[in-house]
């Protein structure tokens, strides 16, 4: 499961930030998961909680809160905006799996549904980001 590698980056980034802020304990970490990355929420949460054990500073049990961010794409050529969930129905399993590993390959496997351009951008819901950390000094 490659979710583990991304969870590890979240835990390491949270610990680095907490150390800079001199936190003694991390009580809450909010993580946004972009729809394009198609992360298995349960696996990801399990990995985060496993990796959170024996960190310095300590991470409180169940500190992680995950929020799924819906994927939105906008065409740079014609300005059309559409949802990834609509586009996903037209992707085959291999294409969808590839986007799960590297979200940017959406530009390889899909086109603007209105004008057919490959020159669009992921405006929302790309990958995994850390959006807030709370703790106590």
């Amino acid at each position: 499961m490659h979710e583990w590698a991304l969870a590890e980056s979240i835990v390491m980034a949270a610990v680095e930030t907490a150390q800079k802020e001199n936190l003694k304990i991390i009580t809450e970490v909010t993580v946004h998961i972009g729809e394009l990355q198609q992360i298995e929420k349960e696996i990801f949460l399990f990995a985060l909680n496993e990796l959170a054990k024996s960190q310095k500073p300590k991470i409180k049990n169940d500190a992680f809160h995950l929020k799924i961010e819906k994927g939105t794409l906008t065409c740079k050529t014609c300005g059309h905006t559409w949802k990834y969930s609509d586009m996903k129905k037209k992707l085959n399993e291999t294409e969808s799996e590839s986007i799960h590993f590297i979200p940017e390959v959406v530009f390889v496997h899909a086109r603007c549904p209105k004008c057919g351009s490959p020159d669009f951008e992921i405006t929302k819901g790309r990958g995994v980001t850390l959006t807030s950390i709370k703790g106590a000094r």
């Binding site: 490659h2 590698a5 390491m12 680095e16 590297i102 979200p103 530009f107 850390l130």
Partner: protein
């Protein structure tokens, strides 16, 4: 706040790699991929644990040179590159299936970050990077995220190639990046032009790989590639830097 977490884990992913060598050039078409693939093969044949990362995201070609197909990384706490011809091989091609890849600069950086964050190389003696031409996002990202990287620069005998290669060398010198030297590829005469230009920049000139008419027939076949005159020339060149 929105924080990019992937940068935090890259150092950990690379920590068991003894040396990272980026095979680069300011110019396209000079044989970077061939030198990178051949260098990886050469080191693997000498018993080293070797990884090869193709960062030419628009035109990946190391897999064509080494004849790698129908392979895919294994998922285990990240992705583990398949080992082919003794080389752990990672490329965007696993995810693009040979389709055109229209990426903008920001996408390039995101792809590199993702690959560096999720690839589990394990312990390696060498990680060879097949770089795209120029001094754009890929070169800047390798310098930024792979701090121990050393550069092996490739040019052809052409004044046109050397013009662009000089710019790459100058920026690497300015940024104090280690440059192992310059390889002159596809030579057909005894001209010393490149050697003189490289020496002006106080960079080591490593030698010539002569134009090898039989090389094209060996593309896609790692065993035949190892027997080519070009590969034998490369082995002589590499001795100068103890590789």
């Amino acid at each position: 706040m929105t924080m990019e977490p992937r940068t935090s884990v890259i150092e950990k992913r690379l920590k068991n790699i003894k040396r990272i060598i980026a095979v680069a050039s300011g110019k396209g078409g000079v044989g970077k991929s061939l030198v990178a693939s051949s260098l990886a093969l050469h080191l693997a044949h000498h018993g080293y644990k070797v990884g090869l990362l193709d960062l030419d995201l628009y035109g990946p070609s190391s897999h064509i040179i080494l004849g790698i197909k129908d392979e895919f990384p294994t998922e285990e706490k990240g992705i583990i590159p398949p080992t082919v011809h003794g080389i752990s091989f990672m490329s965007i091609v696993y995810f693009t299936q040979e389709k055109p890849s229209p990426f903008r600069g920001v996408d390039i950086s995101n792809i590199i970050l993702e690959l560096l964050a999720i690839t589990q190389w394990g312990s390696l003696d060498f990680l060879i990077i097949d770089m795209p031409p120029g001094i754009g996002d890929e070169t800047l990202d390798v310098i930024r995220y792979m701090k121990t990287s050393e550069f092996l620069v490739v040019t052809t005998p052409s004044k046109v190639a050397m013009g662009a290669v000089s710019k790459l060398l100058k920026i690497l010198i300015e940024l104090k990046k280690p440059v192992l030297g310059v390889i002159e590829n596809m030579t057909m005469t005894d001209s010393s032009f490149i050697k003189q230009e490289v020496k002006k920049l106080k960079v080591q000139y490593l030698g010539k790989i002569h134009f090898d008419e039989t090389l094209e027939e060996a593309i896609g076949n790692a065993d035949r590639l190892a027997e080519t005159q070009a590969m034998k020339n490369l082995a002589v060149v590499l001795r100068k830097i103890n590789l």
